[in-house]
Amino acid sequence: MKPEEITIKAQARAAEQQAYAFRLFCCDSTGCISSGAISIQDALNEELAAAGAAEKVEVVPTGCMGLCSLGPLIRVSRQGTSEDVLFKEVTVDSARTLIKDYIAPQLNGGVPELGELAKFILPLDIPFFKKQIKIVLANAGLVDPERLDDYLARDGYVAASKVLTSMSPDQVLAEIRDSGLRGRGGAGFPTATKWGIARNAVGDNKIIICNGDEGDPGAYMDRCVLESDPHAVIEGMMIGAFAMGANQGIFYIRAEYPLAVERVEKAIKDARKAGLLGKAILGTSFNFDCEIRLGAGAFVCGEETALIASIEGKRGTPRPRPPFPAIKGLWNQPTCINNVETLANIARIIIKGGKWYASMGTEKSKGTKVFALTGKLKNSGLVEVPMGMTLREVVFDVGGGSGSGTPIKAIQTGGPSGGLIPAEHFDTPISYEHLQQLGSIMGSGGLIVMDEDDSVVDIARFYLDFTVDESCGKCAPCRIGGKQLLLLLDKIREGKGSEADVTMIKRVALAMQKGSLCGLGQTAPNPVLSGLRYFREEFDERLNCKDGAKGGCSCGHDSPCKAN
């Protein structure tokens, strides 16, 4: 394919899309599929055929539209109008009614009858949508992830074409540096610096890896990006490869995400067929191709050196750094590992410029961040908000506040490596630095909301149990320390603990933070420590619960002592 052909194909597809009177975007992501999205699309197609309108209306299976808790969602877009209408919690029956009473009359020049359908309409001007800025998720819900030309019609591969034909690697690095983009996997290392190190490293066969081993419980941003817009990630990877001089790319994806794997596989095949991957891409001298490697259920493989070991076909255990992977990584070659969301930002930054990206956010945290909003709030789903927005806005405006009616007590960010942030700190703006000051971390984007019914001691134990189980066992501080922390915490939970146990928790935690080989062990004590920092009274309740073993506790939580 030549650069001009990208434009021709994009225009052809855009013309095709404009020829339809209506386009029905149907969320076809894992969440909505489980609520019957496939049979709903079948019903839509059947009704359209019955009404003789199949030529005039396109049913587009898309990626995640965000509001997963109200799925399946259908977005109705009418040619010539900019006001789309969104329908929530669609059923097979309401899908049929949608065609018969809403679409068909309009096709015949009549007025639609909303009737029963009115209650399925979800206004698009609610804060959930209004407060979001979509860069990473710009195409999610608006393109068919399995169609390359749908992506092309939305400026797909324009950035890659620009980079390959008119930019030098240094110019690419400068643009990304201007954007201030930092790694979205959680640590927040500047992307341009990482690429620069790999560029300067010596090696014949540099490798870029997309880390899609999203193991944090309560986080599914990467899954949705890969399912909704796989080409955007491939394009970002290609641009990164060009900047650092790599010719090989690897997607490392969790085996638990079969749909994401399937869509990335199809996207790679389509891109290869179109000449967007392979040799002499777009008529230039640049060669690049990528392939998929599956994870196999090990949280520690999110850590760079463990991930590399896993791709090499070994147990996923980390090794000491340095040497850093950017110098000596997969097969001892310079290897750059970027998170899915980081890569999904790249094409937009190249098209719109680094300065545009840097105009959003705080001083040190630029752009947007995707969060998986889950837990006890009204609107559970996938959201993308500008950095600098306060936690309060995210939880109460975007998330709609408490879903149960019980007041919200705290949020947890960063999963098992992160910490709790109590409601009194909700006016903090979202940035890597601010969240760290509060004793939590940005993490990859899981944001779990807890209400007054949830026990902090219980949630601390939940995360600790997770990290103890997922510890690879290679280094003693993590393997032994984690287990000891868990035993101490259980002792307290059961009402058998003492003040000395709290002191011991802090000592063991310090040893783990200082002595563990990788991030898993270093951060594993965070949920317990932040619980102690902000909700000490909940631990004290258990400490003072002398009758705990007899079930006489009055702490109001569903603790194990109640079962005795």
Partner: protein
């Protein structure tokens, strides 16, 4: 060799047929096919094991033993990897594998009760199979369906927004769908 299970028509003995030019006849057993696909690629042990598990539902010991020399990896290395990663199974699961998500969002919304209910209704503990080998119950890591928590996967199909009381209903639905599929 014929790769076909159906008996060949006597008039056209399969053995006599020449292989397509440039394409040697495919090896008859699945392990050899898998080994052949991955042997040449560095570090592909995990990918090969995924394919074995997809074929058999787990990684049988005899297949692992057969795979080792063909892929050029010691058996010890295969088991080192198999036992490290949660995803691989070394014994046959039941016909229906119930995976209850134990991720944070599901945990907060009561996945513990759902797991307990499955355990009670199926009559097997977490991580075990029923005596008739029909059901296998397991708690799994976050399946990324947090928006519809709590969620359960049965043989690839996701059930979301479950209440503990829905467990019986899920079991019935799985059995009904299976019976319907068997008729077709």
């Amino acid at each position: 060799m014929s790769t076909n299970d159906q008996p060949a028509a006597p008039a056209k003995p399969v053995l006599a047929q020449p292989a397509a030019p440039g394409k040697p006849a495919a090896p008859s057993d699945q392990t050899a096919i898998i080994a052949k696909r991955w042997r040449a690629k560095r570090g592909s042990l995990i990918m090969a094991l995924h394919e074995v598990q997809e074929t058999y539902g787990y990684v049988p010991r005899d297949v692992a033993l057969k795979l080792a020399p063909q892929i050029g990896v010691p058996v010890a290395r295969i088991y080192e990897v198999l036992t490290f990663y949660n995803y691989f199974k070394t014994s046959a699961p039941g016909k229906f594998v119930v995976s209850v998500c134990t991720g944070t969002a599901c945990h907060l919304k009561g996945s513990g009760d759902i797991l307990a209910n499955f355990s009670a209704q199926l009559g097997c503990k977490e991580g075990e199979s029923t005596t008739d080998k029909l059901w296998h119950l397991q708690g799994v890591r976050c399946i990324g369906c947090c928006g519809i928590a709590p969620a359960v996967i049965v043989n690839g199909k996701v059930f979301g927004k479950l209440k503990p009381a829905d467990v019986g209903d899920v079991i019935d639905k799985v059995l009904t769908a299976d019976a319907a599929a068997a008729k077709v």
